[in-house]
Amino acid sequence: MADLETFRRETKSWLEANAPASLVGQIGNELEGTWGGRKATWPNPDAKRWLDVMAARGFTAPTWPKAYGGGGLEPAEAKVLAQLLRELRLPPPLIGFGLTMIGPTLLRFGSEEQKTLHLPRICRGEIRWCQGYSEPGAGSDLASLQTKALRDGDHFVLNGTKVWTSYADQADWIFALVRTNPTAKKQEGITFLLVDMDTPGVSVSPILLISGKSPFCETHFQDVRVPVANVVHQIDAGWTVAKALLGHERTMIADAFGGAGPRPDKKGGRSYLAELAASKLGEEQGRIADPIFRDEVAAFEMESRAFALTVQRTKDAARAGHQPGSESSMFKIYGTELNQRRYELLVRLLGPDALGWEGPGFDEADLEITREWLRSRGNTIEGGTSEVQLNILAKHVLGLPS
């Protein structure tokens, strides 16, 4: 405990000395902020400086071993660091699938060469990763995927199409599930492969979403040659790796959506949501004038708090040495549905102001809420649909029969 206090004190003064003032109050979560990569752009040069100082200290991946560019922190110390960032209202220096998905997976399943090559570049934000799981014919039934990988000496030759690949157009590497054995049982012929997107034969075409943005792509592989050394774990044993990574993905999604929402709450005062409701609906004697919306704001906040406490409880239990179960499925369902309810409520609070799409006559922040409302509908689909998560809970947590 005394050590933890020392750590808190030292880290706090280090953060205060090193965090660029222009970033204070900028929010961020696992899906919003600095993604890094070769194609990274830096609208705010301080964001780059922030990434570099934090990476140099190992604080982009606080709990990863120092040897791979991490901070080597104990989980309790990492919690303190996260608290400090919140307290000082600083955004995370780096986000992305490298830190949240492929990194933890490589730490567990990767070869020494893979870890030495990839992890430090993830920590420094040099390489941005994307996820090549889904295919046009393989969504919820992911194990039926068909992208072919034929062995040719010390290479695999890839042919096939991945779809819904988030940010493939901005990524440098992709981790992909490919079929290496077409005759085995479907789960047993899959291999987990790391592919440099610069390899000849890889091409991506962005897909437009209902939100008007195109964060995901179709990713094509045409005779793409990938070294066998890029197999993670073993050939034909990719399903185990794939499932472990999905656990990380679901936790990441839950963390991102279960949290503060589009604006951080001011300390002590009213929540962002209550403030917005009061400004849109007026106040009577210090209360949101419309009692029905007041009730809905409270209901949402309470649900959100109960969810955050549950995420915290699981983390506290993990730090105390309890084995995590299939909670990530629960967090995925609840966190994403909560986020959808948040945007449903926000849009209804805005009223007609929520109907803007672009251009003059509408407030920039309101336009963003409308787009995010549309985007949030995907939350219960991406990373495995809610229905699939409910199946997992029913079978693996509740032990209900097939």
């Binding site: 704001v297 708090r305 109960a306 369902i333």
Partner: protein, 380 residues
């Protein structure tokens, strides 16, 4: 705040669970109900629980307690709630006991608290009146100055664990009216006080509750719990603690009825397969599971937050009660539905849980009440 049990807490939880499983199956509650037992609980078992130290868990050592907190007490009460044990933990221990501990004079404390913590006496608290719904300060009972003391006149409804109680703490108006916060005073009234009439209220959940009529009951100044005219905040602090205790009981009940439902889903067959293989039921069961998990986190947080005297403790109490109200009813309603016809029979236990869920929901404020309170505490 750490939302994980310490080793000591794990031990308390396991001991309580084992004890309750061995000495208090649901059949014991059923037998008390069937017999129309006037108390509705077992005084002998209550004393045994006192000897085990359960009643004193959350009270100071100098008051005869163990010096732990709600974080520990909720573990015991959760175990009791699992098998619907009807002993007076909510009305007697939490309302009466905490009112004495937080507000009573040293003389009243030494006269009453040891008996309460040993399980020899029950002191109830009449927090409700006909028509007051969930508003704690909507008190019509009047305490009129008379000599050096007061005369209390009015009616109190559904006084939890109040029937057969040794004494009842009665909030009354020494001034003001309506929902005024000022002018409320709490009086301790012995069961034999002239002018006090107590009737057993028969409730849907078969638990002990009393209807009280006070007709010029004389109370001396020494019987005041807390300060004259300033009882509202004491009452709220006490009810907040009792609300956490009740929420823990609800948590135990919802967990138990859900476990019973799961095992039914795995064994009952229709169409040649266990009904638990139907996806429609699987998804609904998974929803119940998630609601219970959220309720559990909320109860743990509320208990710890009250123990630590945190500024948003009251919000977390409201959170716990609101989540437990919704989750217990969901678990119980789904249980009846998934048991099918037998779920509707008195012979099966699931109906008991449904009744308990409803009674608990409508005690100390339902989810809507606590959303309002959350909003008020949140400054909007």
């Amino acid at each position: 705040m750490q939302l994980v049990l310490t080793e000591e807490q794990e031990l308390i939880a396991a001991t309580a669970r084992d004890f309750v499983a061995a000495s208090s199956p649901v059949s014991r509650f059923r037998a008390l109900r069937d017999a129309g037992d006037p108390l509705g609980y077992s005084p002998a078992l209550l004393r045994e629980m006192g000897e085990l130290g359960w009643l004193g868990i959350a009270f100071d050592e100098k008051q005869g307690g163990a010096g732990l907190g709600l974080a520990e007490l909720v573990l015991v009460v959760e175990a009791l709630g699992r098998s619907l044990a009807p002993e007076p933990f909510v009305g007697g221990l939490a309302l009466g006991g905490f009112a004495l501990a937080l507000g009573a004079s040293p003389a009243l404390q030494s006269a009453w608290l040891p008996g309460v913590l040993e399980g020899r006496k029950v002191v109830a608290l009449a927090h409700q009146e006909p028509g007051s719904r969930h508003a704690l300060t909507r008190i019509g009972t009047r305490a009129v100055a008379s000599g050096s003391g007061f005369r209390l006149t009015g009616a109190k409804s559904q006084v939890l664990d109040g029937f057969g109680a040794e004494a009842v703490i009665v909030p009354a108006r020494t001034a003001g009216g309506g929902d005024d916060r000022s002018g409320i005073t709490l009086f301790l009234v012995g069961k034999d006080a002239p002018g006090l009439a107590s009737e057993r209220a028969i409730r849907v959940d078969s638990r002990n509750a009393a209807q009280l009529h006070l007709d010029g009951v004389v109370c001396g100044p020494e019987s005041i719990v807390g300060k004259l005219g300033e009882g509202a905040s004491l009452l709220e602090a006490v009810v907040d603690r009792a609300t956490v205790v009740l929420s823990a009981e609800m948590l135990g009940g919802m967990a138990a009825v859900f476990e019973q439902t799961l095992s039914y889903l795995k064994t009952r067959e229709q169409f040649g397969v266990p009904i638990g293989s139907f996806q429609a039921l699987q998804h609904r069961a998974a929803q119940v599971y998630m609601e219970i998990e959220l309720a559990r986190s909320s109860v743990m947080a509320a208990a710890r937050s009250v123990d630590a005297g945190e500024t948003d403790a009251a919000k977390l109490v409201s959170l716990a009660k609101a989540r437990c109200s919704g989750a217990y009813l969901l678990a119980a309603n789904e249980a009846v539905q998934m048991f099918g016809g037998v779920g509707m029979t008195d012979e099966y236990d699931v109906g008991f849980y449904l009744k308990r869920a409803r009674a608990a929901e409508l005690t100390f404020g339902d989810a809507a009440y606590h959303r309002q309170r959350w909003a008020r505490l949140g400054g909007y």
